[in-house]
Symmetry: C2
Subunit: 370 residues, 2 copies
Amino acid sequence: MENAAHFIITYRISAGSEDDAALFAEKIGTEQSVEMPLEAVPKSGKPSLPDIIEITQAEENLWDTTLSYPKTLFDGDITQLINVLFGNISMLHNIKLIDIGQEAFREHFHGPEFGIKGIRKKLNVPNRALSCTALKPIGLSPGELAENAYQFTMGGIDLIKDDHGLANQKSADFRARVSACIQAVRMGEQVSGKKTLYFPNITTSPAYVLDRFHEAVELGADGVLISPQLTGIEMLHTLSNRGHIPVMAHPAFSGSFVIHPTHGFTPQLYYGTLWRALGADAVIYPNAGGRFSFTRKTCGEINDNLRTEFLGFKSSFPTPAGGINLHSLDEELSYYGNDTIYLIGGSLYKQPDGLQSATSKFQNVLKSYE
Amino acid sequence: MENAAHFIITYRISAGSEDDAALFAEKIGTEQSVEMPLEAVPKSGKPSLPDIIEITQAEENLWDTTLSYPKTLFDGDITQLINVLFGNISMLHNIKLIDIGQEAFREHFHGPEFGIKGIRKKLNVPNRALSCTALKPIGLSPGELAENAYQFTMGGIDLIKDDHGLANQKSADFRARVSACIQAVRMGEQVSGKKTLYFPNITTSPAYVLDRFHEAVELGADGVLISPQLTGIEMLHTLSNRGHIPVMAHPAFSGSFVIHPTHGFTPQLYYGTLWRALGADAVIYPNAGGRFSFTRKTCGEINDNLRTEFLGFKSSFPTPAGGINLHSLDEELSYYGNDTIYLIGGSLYKQPDGLQSATSKFQNVLKSYE
C-alpha cells in the first residue's frame, strides 16, 4: 500500500453508501492536494493527486477510506505535512484520521532524542514507574515556587514540571523562576540522596521559543515543557532536533483536534504516533477518569503508540494526567504499568502533611511495584 | 465589567440549571487560571482566580457566563493569553467562547499594520472591491506558476496569493517560485497598466517562518500569506510587528476551533476579533455556499468584527473564499460590499478562454459596483 514515494492516510468518514464514501474520499483527496476542480488540473499537477486505495465499512454509515498521497506534496516540510493531513479539512465535519502510514514519517522525522530509556538513565531508575508533579499556581513568586520544588525534591519526586501556564509573568519571570527552582532542586537532592529532574515551561511566542529553550539549557534545566499546539506543532521537532535536553509535550489547545468522535485525529494517532514522531520524550495526555473524557482503552492505545516499535524511533514516556491521586495510583499502575510517568498535580497540594510527606507516599507506592 | 487590570471572557456553556452553569463556570475559571483545587490555592495564588460576573440564559440548557480574569495571568505574553482563552478547556465539550473583552487586547496587541486602507493605497484603488486568486496546484514548476501569475496580472487582478500548500517543494522551491512570480507580475503590470500584488505563502516550521518572511521581503514580495494555526497563532503578531509588508491569514488547520456549535470559538470571534487584533491585514475565511459550512450571517459577523471600530485598530480586509465564481459575484457583492477581497481560485482556472480573459471579466464585475 505504501512505497518510498507515497504515504497513506486512513480517514473514517460518514456516508450513506459506499458510492457516497468514494465521492467524499475524492473530495478530501482533491482538497488536501491540488485544491482545484479536477477538470482544471494541468498535466504537471496530476502527480500531486492521491489515489483512493481502499474503502471498507466500519459501522453503519461509517467508512474507512485509505488514500495514498505522493510525498512530493510536502517534500520534507513537516508543517506542510500537517497541512496535508488536516489543513483545509479541519473546516469539515465527519472526517476522522485514524491512521497515517509510516512512510509519512520516514526520513524527515527522527522520534525522541532521549525517550523512556534516556530519561530513566538521567534518573538512574531502570525499571519502576516515575513520579511527576507540577509547580503551581500562577501568582506565586520564584521563591515560593522554589520552596515547593524543594519540598517535592526532598520527598524524592522523579520529575517536576512547571504548570503549563507559567510563562514570563511578572510574579515569577522566566529567568528568576527557573534559576530559583533549579537551585532548589539541586539542594533538595542533597537531602533525598536521589536525582530529581526539573522541566520549566518554555511555551511562548513561536518566534522566541528557541531563545527560551537555550536559556533553560544554559540555566541548567534538566528538560523542558512545551505545548506544541500553542507554538506550532513542528516546534516540538525543532527542539528535539537540538538534542540538548528532553522535551515533554503538554496537550493545551490540542483538545479540539481529538475529542470529537467524528472530527479530527484519534487521540492515539495524534498524541501517540504524531507527537512521538515529532520527538516528544514524554507526552502528557488527559487521563481517563480525570477532568476530561478519554476512556481507559483510548489511553492504553496512546501508550501503545508511544511505546511500540515504530520506524526504529525511541519510545516516549506516556504521562497520563488528571484524576490521579495517591489512592487511585494502584489502579492506574495496573492499567498502564511501569513504563509510565504518573503526573499528580492538584491532589498532592491537598495532602494535609505537606508536599514532602505527600511525595514520599507517592514514591513509596511506585517503589512497591518495582 | 472590565478595568485596566482585568479582561472578560464570555462562554456559552451547556448546563441543566443556573446552579449547574455556575458550577461549570467555576470549573472553567479554575482550570484556566490556577489549575488546582480551590482549597489548595495559597494566598499568593488567590489573585490569579477569575470572578464570575454574570450568568444569563441564552436558550434552553445554554448559559452565557462571563468571567473576569486578571491580566496578570498572561502579562503581555500573547501565546499565554491564547492558553488562558482555550488551552486546557479545548479538551472539554460544551464550551463556546462568544466574547472576549477589549481589555485583553489593549496594550500588547496593535491590530493590522496596513489593513484595508493600506492595501488600497498600495493598489491605488480607493473604493471598489478587490479581486484575488490563488496560484496552484502543487506540482507546477516555478515557470508554470509564473506563467499563470503573468496571465492573471495581464487580466488586471488586484491580488495573487500562493496556494496555501505551496511551501518549499522540489517542484517549485520557495526562492525560485517567488522570484519567478514577482518577475512575472511586474511584467504583467506593464501590459495591464495597473498594480497587482503578489503574496507568497511563507507557512513552514515556526522556527523558520521569519527567515522566509525576510526572504520574501528581500525578493520584493508585496505581502505574504500565512496559516497561523499551523505556525503558532502568535506568529501572525510577530510578522505584523515587523511592519514591512501586509500579512494575509489563511484558515488551514483552524476549523476544529470554530465549526462545532458548542465547542471552541465563534468564527466571528476567532477570525474577526482575534486575527485582526493579532495584525492580519486580510483574513481568508470559508465563505457561505462554498465547500465549507458557514452561514451568510456568520460571514457577515466576521466582516463586521474585521471592519468595525475596535481599540483604534485599523480594519482588516474580509476575504471570503470558496463557492465564489463569476456568476455568483453580484450576489456576493450584495452581501459583503466593496470593503472586501473576493477570492476566486479553482473556478477561474475552469474558464474556457484562459486566465487573462477570466480575470478581465472578474475585474469588470467589481468595477461595475465602484
